[in-house]
Assembly symmetry: C2
Homo-oligomer: 525 residues x 2
């Protein structure tokens, strides 16, 4: 099933240059070799996507939902080959990847249910008021339509859930947009297996072939050409800040600028409130270290910053966390490049004269293994050097000791935009926490209490987003059903003859939608 192909609509292309996957646990290449997509492949895929757009965007909710469900069924049908290949290419353990497959498939099914339900269309009708003075009101009807073909850049750290058939692809499909995926070169076999599952679903559902193309490859030009292609109307990206910024720049400089939804970097501050810290600081430490080291810390929601008020309770927490980390096994990171960047970032913190190394995890015993790192500093030092607030992707976290709550607030106010912030608090902390909430809310997309930020639920109420530079567009989420909104735009129809109205706005309401009529939501009969 893995042929090393580039998938342009329904055709396999071999490519003219080639690359290979690396098993990060050994550093060795894995067979087969893969064709590298190039700019001519971009043009072909985008032309097909553009040609497919009208037909795919016009599918009914039922047709589109069935397509999403078929993609899910086809991914399940790949069976264990998918898990084995993903383990080889990512170094991630079986249980994690089986869980991620479940999440990926569940996400596709949740979008299918959401598409069928139809509220995302936001169907809105202001009936004509022909006798209104001084001027009559026309009949006005508004509905959301698909934005156009979408470019998706898969992430390295979720080879299933944030990659070829991940959240960006699922939400773009749900919105009615054809998708061209730029496949991540770290897991090309996994990517191809999933890409074939999607392509088979396109064919089985009778959709135009351009609904999906898959362009694997390691070159930076490939991604740039995809974002620059005039037929692409939006971009979904999860990856590094440098990568996201580069795509934002290309998108902004196009003849027609387009939205880029880039999820880039976050250190996810955790605030240890005084009463909770005093009452249960020892018990909190192992849970913190578990969140820090899970999946080698390769989560965008990894807790990279812990903020507390200096004192005995914080010292005990630091000591307990250090002890827990000292026993944490070294684990394989996703790629040699990510591992090298992690080591470099940790070394920079360890060598910083205002930073104390609290503990390191177990030393590496194999290729590309991360040795966890926990640091400590004070608020004055942290505030004095912006570099201390930058993400080190992997199991690295810094504890910042503040003089008092006012200094906690100052540290938070000085942070860049983040995906999450966490409050560890007891009842006695609530009044103080209430004063921090507005400061936190300005900075993040999700505020948690008494948990750890790793673990992102795929649901209606989830926001996996946040102000720049956590993402390129803080008005959105890349996880959860609201992610669809990124790929929709509203169109209004004024006095259109009944026969020309889209079904969502037709008087007979054939899709049984809840619709806002004259300002009030009306449920279908």
């Amino acid at each position: 099933m893995i042929k090393g192909s580039i998938l342009i609509g329904s055709r396999d292309e071999a490519g003219t240059s080639f690359f290979s996957a690396i098993d990060p646990s050994t550093g060795e290449q894995i067979e087969p070799r893969f064709g590298s997509a190039d700019v001519s492949d971009v043009a072909k895929a985008c032309a097909l996507a553009d040609a497919a757009f009208d037909a795919y965007a016009a599918t009914t909710p039922e047709e589109r939902a069935r397509f999403l469900e078929t993609v899910a069924e086809n991914i399940v049908a790949i069976g264990d080959d998918l898990i084995v290949r993903a383990m080889q290419e990512s170094g991630l353990p079986r249980a994690r990847l089986e869980g991620e497959r479940g999440r990926t498939v569940g996400q596709l099914r949740l979008f299918a249910a959401t598409v069928r339900q139809g509220d995302w269309l936001d169907a809105t009708i202001d009936p004509a008021l022909p006798d209104r003075q001084p001027l009559p009101r026309p009949d006005l009807r508004r509905v959301n339509v698909a934005l156009g073909p979408v470019a998706v850049f898969g992430a390295s750290n979720f080879p299933l859930a944030f990659s070829v058939a991940g959240g960006d692809t699922a939400s773009a499909f749900a919105a009615g947009c054809p998708v061209v995926v730029k496949g991540h070169p770290a897991h090309p076999g996994t990517g191809e297996l999933v890409a074939r599952a999607i392509r088979d679903a396109v064919a089985a559902c009778g959709l135009p072939e351009g609904t999906f193309s898959y362009l694997p490859g390691p070159s930076i030009e490939l991604g740039g050409a995809l974002v620059a292609d005039p037929r692409i109307k939006a971009v979904g990206f999860t990856g590094s800040r440098a990568g996201g910024l580069a795509l934002m720049k290309i998108a902004a400089e196009r003849a027609e600028p387009i939205p880029v939804y880039a999820e880039m970097s976050s250190i996810n501050p955790v605030v240890l409130m005084p009463a909770a810290l005093k009452a249960r600081g020892d018990a909190l430490a192992p849970a913190f270290v578990q969140s820090l080291t899970m999946g080698s810390g390769q989560f965008c929601t990894n807790p990279g910053l812990v903020i507390g008020i200096a004192g005995d309770a914080l010292d005990r927490f630091v000591a307990a966390a250090g002890e827990a980390l000292t026993g944490a096994a070294a684990t394989t990171m996703l790629t040699p490049g990510i591992h090298a960047a992690y080591d470099k970032g940790v070394a920079a913190l360890a060598g910083h004269d205002k930073i104390e190394t609290v503990a390191r995890g177990c030393p590496a015993s194999g290729a590309n293994q991360a040795q966890g790192a926990l640091f400590r500093t004070d608020a004055t030092s942290f505030l004095a050097d912006a570099a201390l607030g930058h993400e080190v992707f992997g199991s690295s976290s810094a504890i910042v000791a503040c003089r008092d709550l006012a200094e906690v607030r100052t540290v938070i106010a000085g942070l860049e935009g983040q995906l999450t912030a966490t409050l560890i608090l007891d009842e006695a902390d609530e009044a103080d926490a209430a004063t921090l909430l507005p400061v936190l809310a300005r900075k993040v997309g999700r505020i948690l209490a008494n948990g750890w930020p790793t673990g992102v639920e795929v649901s209606h109420a989830m926001v996996h987003g946040g102000p720049f530079p956590a993402t390129s567009d803080g008005r959105t989420t890349s996880v959860g059903t609201l992610a669809m909104a990124r790929f929709l735009r509203p169109v209004s129809f004024q006095n259109l003859p009944a026969g020309l109205l889209p079904p969502a706005l037709a008087e007979a309401n054939p899709w049984h939608l809840s619709r806002r009529i004259d300002g009030t939501v009306s449920r279908p009969a």
Copy 2:
């Protein structure tokens, strides 16, 4: 009441350099002189807006609605002074400005009602599932919050409805954002009267003074500094393409890029479908010319392009439209600069060797008067020169004759993004029109049938927006209640103690909101 002041929160500042309004009907300066805001005023206004943000964003729907209504009441209370001053500064007639005041006040009240109703909060609750396998689901609650202080650039062509208290300001206030207005230098007296009405409402409602500031001035640096200020989190703009593009560039190059909602340019294609053209082309012509010349054509929805199939019926329409335009009076344009740009744009079309001048309106008899212009060309010529598709702001329109429906489609497909497209059609045209709709929907924010695009209803279903370059962000509207969405972002709360939840998400539902619970909208008891 007009002192020529800069309004920084609750303080009047005199300024250190000065400018004057011009009566475009005479070209003469009008008293008094106005202080020009400068970059130090920008910094002061933005600091106050930032300081006001938490408190203003935390107002209840009722408090915020009362503020919007108080602004409306205060604008009405200015009385005829406002109309007289706006007539002097804009050259627009009394009836138009009285209508525009009604629209401005009605818009504020519509937003007040919408804020009270509360659906804009999109309150969404996914209750905890503690027994779910393999992992429990946390309690997740999502709500929309205000983006931050907003910079608003008023438009010259609607000195009330798209200016100091226009749609951008009203929707930003409705969303919970403090506003700093960069006042348009063409109507500073009108602007100051309205700014004082807003400031009085801020005080009367007990809001922090930084909720609103008003920075009048003619300098380009002023606007640039406002968009560049790190405390500004979004921009609303209505004006020229060059102006909008300049602000987009500044916003994209900030350390923290921010969204710019710029409404820039549109020629609003009107397609005359064959059966309608044949049956009633003569009758359509005067209505078209009325739409073309209304308000000297100074509308972003002015019909600047008419597309039809060549033949006798189109010739008769052209002749009748030419006759109607020949008798159309010359009317005063908004500013000498706009008038000069109009004359230059019309002269360029008149001198184009592939363009025929069908008719001109009555010659000017006073300063800055526009003499309407109607041109004709064929599709081949139109498609060959992109400049023919650029907006000439004012009463200028080109009729493009196509060979057949396929060429009509080609002309539409070649257009830039537009605010509107109009289909003039009879029942016999509906099948053909249906084939044009997907092509039109890609290009515009609003599709009209059997009307003219001028006249933009302020309602729930309105979209006054469209793909670039009609606007900078085709996912939005600047008119209608959906305009609020531009200034909101979602925040999610996970396992927050009940006492810390925002009211919109509290279990008791104190604001009586419809909320989406576990995917289904639940109305308040």
